[in-house]
Symmetry: C2
């Protein structure tokens, strides 16, 4: 056999090996695999390097821009993964990593994920998912029931109905929100008379048919940034995603919302949807959903609730009332990879009316045929993995009461952390948590007192410096890698200003009060650094100019 044929044959044999021969248990990859199976927390703790390397340094390991010609040994690649990827990833499960919507996951999620990956089903159609299709339909029904509390007969009729779906399972909240507003848009611009509907004729003709100059989506200024993307995507335009101010509790201001709706109607802009938020991303606040439902009813528009974060609060007998009115929403977004404790990549949108998704229904010749139970005819995405299995597992294994405990724990923790902050001499609470998210900032009490007596100009100057302090503080803490909070900019009512604040999400059941104390302690140590101290000296100098008249005013 000539040399090159021989090489080709050897390569082909190697290729077959990777499809037919499992990694040996004592191979590098096999060992990592077993270490994760035995103790994922230990594995993450041992392998993720806490101290942050500069991102530019990390990039050097990922700078090759072409695909290698020759194969690499799996063992060699596994070493690379351990040293260069795992080591430099983020320990999102760490109980001190409280800055984003991440948590430790229940252990059973890992082996179940492996089963899901091994089966590699495609949920777009029954032919590539069989039992996974009824399973996903069941998971959607269970969440639908959590939100809407329909009767048993209702679910018997709709859960496995081949013409319809109670919701769409998707990769996350953004697609869920997009699906909800897509359905709302298409329902408002449904076929009627000679008009064959927006899906067919497009947005410009739909506006002519409705005889209006635009469609508006209204949400509070705390609305998730995905809504802006969706307004762009759907052709509505970001101008028509109308942000309404919030009250002092970060909830939409109903008076302003009503005023805005009137103004839009005067401008011949049709309200397409009101979006209520159940758990804002930055402050965990819940809009007055009942009042919004009343208004939507009055306006005859769609009412969507973005409960991507807060939806699972419904598990809790104690806190469920915070979401009162959610059952009146036409659609509700819930993210499973947030407070259902499922790995990344699982969102859902549920529709009160089980026929609502008809507004975006689609078919093809080789799949999604009329009358099939293929879920793909009612989803924005096409091919999708069987993530619904992990939602189904969580709901079944943890149960309503288990999730209730998790929700209650998080809210209790947020309350105790907000007390710690308020009692601490150096911190200022910038929103009172309704759920398990809160914001605060480093701002010593004497500065707070000075600010209380400052003119708007004076407080502006001081807050600018305090903003810098908090920005540096958050960055230094992240880089040290022991604990992590995030930061954002929020309008803080008492200062009538947008300020830099630190943001904390308390959803990891392994986060203890001791860890929360250590977060504040670490921050108090970080501010001793020279760059921050020099900023604080400037703050003190500015405060000194205020304190005197303030004191004399009291005298």
């Amino acid at each position: 056999m000539p040399k090159n044929q021989e090489t080709a044959r050897a390569t082909l044999e190697n290729l077959y090996r990777i499809f037919t021969i499992p990694e040996a248990p004592d191979s590098t990859l096999g060992e990592v695999d077993q270490a994760i199976s035995r103790d994922v927390a230990g594995f993450l703790q041992a392998h993720i390097v806490a101290l942050e390397r500069n991102i530019e340094e990390i990039e050097a390991d990922f700078s090759l821009s072409f695909i290698p010609e020759e194969p690499t040994f799996v063992s060699e690649y596994a070493e690379f993964v351990k040293e260069k990827l795992v080591a430099q990833s983020v320990h999102t499960a760490a109980p001190g990593f409280i800055g984003h919507m991440t948590s430790a996951l229940p252990y059973f999620m890992l082996p179940l994920s492996r089963i899901m990956t091994a089966l590699n089903q495609n949920l777009v159609k029954v032919e590539t998912s069989k039992a996974f299709t009824p399973l996903e339909r069941q998971a959607l029904a269970m969440l639908h029931h959590l939100v809407y509390q329909g009767e048993e007969t209702f679910y018997q009729q709709w859960i496995h109905n081949s013409q319809h779906a109670l919701g769409s399972f998707c990769s996350g909240g953004t697609i869920a929100n997009a699906t909800a507003l897509w359905v709302a848009r298409n329902a408002l611009c449904a076929p009627s008379g000679n008009f064959r509907g927006i899906a067919q004729e497009g947005l410009a003709r739909a506006l002519r048919h409705l005889d209006c100059d635009g469609l508006a989506v209204l949400v509070s200024s705390r609305g998730h940034y995905s809504l802006g993307k969706v307004a762009d995507l759907l052709g509505i335009g970001r101008d028509n995603l109308v942000k309404v101010n919030t009250d002092t509790n970060n909830r939409i201001d109903m008076t302003q919302l009503k005023e805005t709706c009137r103004r839009l109607q005067d401008e011949n802009i049709r309200p397409l949807a009101l979006v209520g938020i159940a758990g804002t991303t930055e402050t965990g606040s819940v809009d007055p959903l009942n009042e919004m439902a009343d208004l939507a009813l009055e306006l005859g528009c769609h009412f969507h609730v973005d409960a991507a974060w807060g939806g699972p609060t419904l598990f809790s007998d104690r806190h469920r009332h915070l979401l009162d009115g959610i059952a009146r929403a036409d659609s509700v977004t819930i993210d499973a990879h947030k407070q259902l404790y499922v790995p990344m990549g699982a969102g859902m949108v549920l529709f009160k009316d089980p026929t609502a998704l008809s507004a975006i229904e689609h078919h093809a010749n080789y799949i999604l045929r009329h009358g099939s139970k293929d879920l793909g005819s009612h989803t924005l995405e096409g091919s999708r993995p069987g993530m619904a299995m992990l939602v189904h597992a969580g709901l079944s294994i943890i149960g309503r009461k288990g999730y209730e405990l998790l929700i209650n724990l998080g809210i209790e923790r947020a309350n105790s952390f907000s007390e710690m902050i308020q009692q601490h001499a150096d911190f200022e609470l910038t929103n009172t948590p309704q759920l398990n998210i809160l914001t605060y900032r480093y701002c010593p009490k004497h500065v707070q007192q000075a600010l209380a007596h400052a003119t708007l100009e004076q407080s502006g100057g001081i807050n600018l410096l305090i903003d810098q302090v908090n920005q540096l503080l958050q960055k230094d803490q992240r880089e040290a890698g022991k604990t992590f909070v995030s930061r954002t900019r929020l309008r803080i009512p008492i200062y009538e200003q947008e300020l830099t604040v630190m943001r904390v999400v308390l959803a990891n059941p392994l986060t203890t009060d001791e860890i929360l104390i250590s977060v504040l302690d670490e921050q108090c140590t970080i501010v001793l650094q020279q760059d921050i101290q020099s900023l604080l000296q400037q703050v003190n100098a500015l405060c000194a100019q205020i304190a005197a008249p303030a004191v004399s005013a009291c005298a």
Copy 2:
């Protein structure tokens, strides 16, 4: 301690256990996990029941519509998964399951998936993904290089550029196509003069600004159904997704495409994008990409190539030429969960111009800040898992040459299967494969001969019956569960009719010629069933009416 407090405490302790204590190796779930690690093929073979149960029967196991109050033991749930879910799932990795775009996966994908799930990174931002962000950027650059063959200096400049991204990683081809056309739409309707752009002002104002009555996307009638969804979603309307007929090889008819473009311009509809297909879903055909690129250039419109299936053909020195012209596309969709052999849920869209994604760029206060390297500022989706890791692994471990072998194998297999079909007395090839997808139907040679001499009315009657034969045949074969082909309806040029055909996708490297023979053998056995035989008797009766004049015409 009162009883209910005691119960609550016990439940809380159980809850902590699931977050802190791994499944024991000898537990049900532990055993399943190890069985999969040892031998996934064996596990799937042993646990998936071949014979298809009625979907309504399966639904009975997934009919509970509310979330159970009480927790369930993991072991109990694991039994349920084994018996009711795994057993009734689809063996998508089976080498005889050649009806859809599925395959066996390389073994290393499983342990690497587990690492990915354990790390649970969120790729929307660096703060929750660190090294995964440069890794995803590298995977995008590698695929970009495969398509566009840019210079090393080009990639050095753009690969890790914080302002831009060479593409968007996403859950699959539908989102990839949506992103491409969203970018195209926004670029065509970019800010200019007083017009602040479509993203801001919406589609209706954009049309007024462009002084046209609509935007059209043009694609062949073989275009993927996702394009219809996208036309709806983007507000363009399905009417403006203009389907152009194909030639006898299922490639877009360029003459008709040009004519259609002229007609649209006469109607004051602006061509937004031409979409070329590199590997149509139903027939694996590749459009004349160079000619389409010429036309797009002439029209000044976006040229998108949907290479979700066929993109990896570029790995092959022998077959790469089939995609000539792809490097001239403004954007290209490639699905990693198809011919990159990655598990479900990984798609990509690449842009020739590294600044193209600016057209959909977005920011928020707490993430995606200006100047950050957060990938989320250039994606349709928000939170996303670290699937790019598996793409990176495939490219690194299999290498260009390994993928080349896989591509070559599939195309060879398709050629040998099409020969088998042509040589077989009972089957008719309905498209000659360019890549590794083909269609055929059960239609005995004597019927084919009769059809060749039939009037349009006569062939219509016969084909209606043959359609039913093929529909039953496909269904019975699927239900028997030994092998699987899919079916679709396609316009077959020689009959000038849309017919039911069986569709085969040959991407699983473990599919042998012997298996392909057995697929045909099984079909020949299935047609012996009485219901099909009685249809074939009717066919023969109709043929008899044709045969005589045909023979006399030859005499």
